[in-house]
């Protein structure tokens, strides 16, 4: 939120911004980087390995038993090439959700970090924007790393695969904004467990490890309503450079989800941070 | 036979001699205090009595048993109130008492009425179904004390029982402890509060740097190591030190502190008159009776609470 947008904005928006932001998001981000500098680099790097382990285990082990599957546009691709983009999409989702739900909840309830921040001139919008930025930054590092692994293993066959990195950020943004808004309704750790209970089936069934064609049609429609499925399909199309009308639908889904998520979180900011 | 007997009891952590060859005895029914600043070795001594800290050398008997050999027997006869409350936050108030009693092998049919009784003793009956997290500091402390009584111990170890409590909560707690003493429970209390030691203890040892520097009843210690009265005068923080030499003439002993000067004398009012007569007019002055604080200052050259 720069000063110039505040001046140009209509009066109501200006009032709202003044109440929720000091325009000093930078301070929150600087703190985030200070934490990363102090953190053991092993922690940072280790986050990168989880999708790689999945890719190696499933791709090599199961790949040998499965052989090829139908990729985008019906062209046969190896099983490893089938799951690699899906793992990138789901790790973008997992990372963003972890940062915007558990992490925010912990800092809010236990570390009381935000209390200290909000006792300064910072507003809730600054804190939320800063946290989402940091989540996206970590997501960006992992996306670059994993895309590199995909390329080295020869699982991407198109230059379009590079576009998987910004798309991973878009997926992360959508989930982070939504996750933060949902966190504003939670008061105990037990309730936070429900996030995992929703995430696990989404990960397992969103055509990550097998195509949804194995399900009856009703179940397929349900899966197709879930955000992760769109992320997975979009990534898969990018990895081989195959586009069709559905590409726009997938992309549109996440654009809309990000806008709605940010709007939702903005509405819930005060109940999240100022309770 | 003493209920606790320590000879040359020592605990070292690497180079640090946390408890340095201390010896003492506690008789049944006695209320015994370990007085000293933080880090004097009081808590370590308490933990060695319960066998939850292994001594480095020396001899220690509790009810004639060595806590390191007969830990279960010794701990079954002890009630322990640790310095920091370690109540079970996942259980409710009453369940904390019952589950703790289970660790002593006590059956539920004994524990259920006992828990209600202890809740009443701790004035927590209305909070029986409350989560421990929602109790105030004083309530948690009382619950911890009630918990220590669940096995009907003959000896109660209290490590800083009232630290962090407001004055009213402290008085209520002291009253509860006094009643236990009346019933013949041996109390062993560590504290760095003089008033607490004076209220609760028949006899105490003053500890500093792991050693016992004095032993006796509160009155006895004051008689031996201090005068009857103390005159406290303040001349402003920049002048106090400069006037020390001139003030020496008016007292048996003098203690300059950063913010005030203490003059030890048997007649405080007369000393104050003499000081004024000599043309030294303090900004404020106070005459009071000597306390254990003064004893400690005399023995260690340091104040108890820094």
């Amino acid at each position: 939120m720069s000063v110039s947008t505040r001046v140009a904005a209509p009066r109501a928006v200006r009032g709202w911004l003044a109440a929720n932001s000091s325009g000093n998001v930078g301070a929150v981000i600087e703190r985030g980087f200070a934490v990363i500098r102090n953190q053991n680099w092993v922690i940072m790097v280790s986050g990168f390995f989880e999708p790689v382990f999945y890719l190696l285990s499933m791709g090599i082990g199961l790949g040998g038993l499965i052989g090829t599957v139908a990729g985008p546009g019906g062209r046969p691709i190896s099983y490893a090439a089938f799951i690699a983009p899906a793992l990138l999409a789901s790790s973008a989702m997992n990372g963003a959700l972890y940062d915007s739900t558990w992490n925010v909840f912990f800092k809010l309830r236990f570390a009381k970090l935000y209390q200290g921040m909000l006792a300064t001139s910072l507003g809730p919008l600054d804190v939320a924007a800063g946290e989402i930025f940091m989540a996206l930054f970590r997501g960006f590092l992992y996306a670059v790393g994993f895309t590199g692994v995909i390329a080295v293993l020869g699982l991407a066959t198109s230059w379009w695969a590079l576009a998987m990195i910004p798309v991973a950020l878009l997926i992360a943004l959508g989930f982070a904004a939504l996750g933060m808004a949902v966190t504003s309704y939670f008061t105990t750790f037990q309730q936070m467990d429900w996030i995992n209970i929703v995430l696990l089936p989404m990960f397992l069934f969103s055509s990550t490890l097998f195509p949804i064609s194995v399900f009856p049609e009703a179940v397929q429609w349900f899966v197709m309503a879930m955000p992760l499925w769109h992320g997975v399909e979009l990534m898969r199309q990018l990895s081989v450079g195959h586009f069709e009308a559905s590409t726009a639908v997938h992309l549109g889904y996440f654009l809309v989800m990000s806008v709605l998520g940010v709007a939702f979180t903005t509405r819930r900011l005060r109940s999240l941070f100022l309770r | 036979m003493p209920v606790i007997e320590a000879r040359e009891l020592t605990k070292t952590y690497g180079e640090l001699r946390a408890v340095d060859a201390i010896s003492f005895e506690v008789s049944p029914g006695e209320s015994f205090g370990l007085l000293g600043p933080n880090g004097a070795g009081k808590s370590t001594t308490m933990r060695m009595i319960g066998g939850t800290s292994l001594r480095s050398s020396g001899r220690l008997l509790v009810n004639g048993l060595d806590p390191e050999v007969n830990g279960p027997e010794v701990r079954a006869s002890l009630g322990v109130v640790p310095q920091q409350d370690n109540l079970d936050n996942e259980l409710r108030t009453r369940d904390n008492l019952i589950m703790y009693g289970r660790y002593f092998g006590l059956p539920y049919r004994y524990l259920r009425p006992r828990a209600d009784e202890l809740l009443e003793f701790a004035q927590l009956t209305e909070k029986a179904g409350e989560k421990v997290d929602n109790l105030s500091g004083g309530m948690k402390r009382r619950l911890t004390i009630a918990r220590a009584l669940v096995n009907e111990p003959r000896i109660l170890l209290l490590d800083e029982p009232t630290t962090g409590l407001d004055p009213q909560a402290r008085h209520i707690l002291w009253d509860r402890l006094f009643r236990l003493k009346e019933q013949g429970v041996t109390l062993i209390v560590t504290t760095h509060f003089m008033d607490e030691a004076e209220q609760l203890c028949d006899r105490l040892v003053v500890m500093d740097h792991g050693r016992i520097v004095a032993e006796g009843s509160p009155a006895d210690l004051i008689r031996r190591f201090s005068t009857r009265e103390v005159l406290e005068v303040r001349f402003g923080s920049d002048r106090n030190a400069a006037l020390v030499d001139r003030l020496r003439a008016f007292a048996d002993r003098i203690e300059p502190l950063p913010d005030r000067v203490l003059l030890y004398t048997d007649d405080g009012e007369r000393a104050l008159e003499a000081v004024r007569h000599a043309g030294l007019t303090p900004l404020t002055s106070l005459v009071r009776r000597s306390s254990l604080e003064d004893v400690f200052l005399r023995l260690t050259g340091r104040s108890l609470i820094d």
């Binding site: 053991n40 922690i43 280790s46 986050g47 390995f49 989880e50 999945y54 190696l56 499933m58 090599i60 199961l62 040998g64 038993l65 499965i66 052989g67 099983y79 467990d193 209970i197 089936p201 397992l204 490890l209 097998f210 | 939850t52 800290s53 292994l54 007969n70 830990g71 279960p72 027997e73 701990r75 079954a76 640790p82 109540l87 079970d88 996942e90 589950m99 703790y100 289970r102 660790y103 002593f104 092998g105 006590l106 004994y110 006992r114 009784e117 003793f121 009956t125 105030s136 004083g138 220590a148 096995n151 111990p153 009213q168 209520i172 002291w174 009253d175 006094f178 009643r179 019933q183 013949g184």
Partner: protein, 310 residues
């Protein structure tokens, strides 16, 4: 502070004690006269000590199980839902691909093949987690192990009780998982109920050394995350849960050999669908798990003793 006394449960009033030597400043109506220290109803200290010497480990387990009650709905929900989701996704979803391409594994459909591995690895992972943060909590945050230290129980009994309690929970989780498998027809119940003790043994075998390690940690560093990411996760993914270990390149197969998951999974496959195992193999798998449990439990008792008697 409120004076909230209800009717007294021990109405013995000794008026001679009232007010005598009461500290200054305490209003007399706050003093009641329950003979608290000695009601005489408690069993004597000697008897308490004797009971705890024998049953101390169980009292510890009892406490741990009681504290699990607070969130048992989540535990049961999770433990029931997870198997259902995994079995549908892996067995039905992946199964369609695997059975279509290679007609199942070792002559059985993929669902039948993967079900025992899923059961064992879910239980073992869950046991691993149960011995990390909760153990640190007992020493560092809630300090409940220190509260236990003031009871007659010995540090060794505390460690043993923790193992037993988690073992009971693992057995319950395994039972729930097994029921789901039976209902979905993924296993033959005649012998496959043996997967319950097998998975529990596997969980304990991994959990005991993790507990021994957790009990030595003073602060939450990154060690627990590292164990999750570089021990539990690779075991789950590379130890032959989703496909026979022999499918992996030879240089990765050692992960399975040292993983309690693989040993437990192999045994479970034998009882679930009759994977042929020789007597020597069975002895090797069981022996590995028992040995790991014994070593881990010994180390855990040692680290608990060190920590609780400093």
């Amino acid at each position: 502070m409120t004076d909230s006394r209800g009717p007294s449960l021990t109405p013995r009033q000794d008026s001679s004690l009232r007010g005598r030597g009461r500290p200054r400043g305490v209003p007399s109506e706050l003093v009641d006269s329950n003979d608290l220290a000695y009601t005489g109803r408690a069993i004597g200290a000697g008897r308490q000590a004797a009971l705890v010497r024998r049953w101390g480990w169980w009292y510890q387990a009892e406490w741990r199980l009681a504290s699990m009650k607070a969130y048992w709905t989540t535990v049961v929900g999770y433990a029931g839902l997870t198997p259902l989701l995994y079995v549908v996704a892996m067995g039905v979803g992946l199964g369609t691909l695997v059975d279509g391409a290679s007609g199942g594994i070792g002559g059985v459909p993929y669902l039948t093949f993967v079900a025992p591995g899923l059961l064992v690895s879910t239980v073992v992972m869950s046991a691993g987690n149960e011995f990390m943060w909760p153990v640190m909590d007992g020493f560092k945050w809630g300090k409940l192990y220190f509260a236990r230290g003031t009871s007659p129980a010995t540090p060794g009994q505390v460690a043993a009780g923790e193992l037993v309690a988690v073992g009971i929970r693992m057995a319950a989780e395994a039972t729930l998982f097994w029921l789901v498998l039976v209902l979905l027809g993924a296993t033959d119940p005649a012998w496959s109920w043996l997967m319950i003790p097998i998975a529990t043994l596997g969980g304990m075998a991994l959990g005991a050394p993790i507990m021994a390690f957790s009990a030595t940690r003073e602060d939450e560093g990154f060690e627990f995350s590292m164990i999750q990411r570089f021990v539990l996760m690779p075991m789950f993914l590379f130890a032959g849960t989703f496909y026979p270990l022999e499918t992996m390149p030879a240089y990765l197969q050692w992960i399975g050999w040292i993983s309690p998951m693989w040993h437990g999974t192999q045994l479970s496959r034998a009882v679930s669908f009759g994977l042929p195992l020789g007597g020597a193999e069975v002895a090797l798998h069981v022996g590995f798990l028992v040995a790991l449990l014994a070593v881990g439990a010994t180390l855990a008792v040692r680290s608990f003793r060190r920590r609780l008697t400093r």
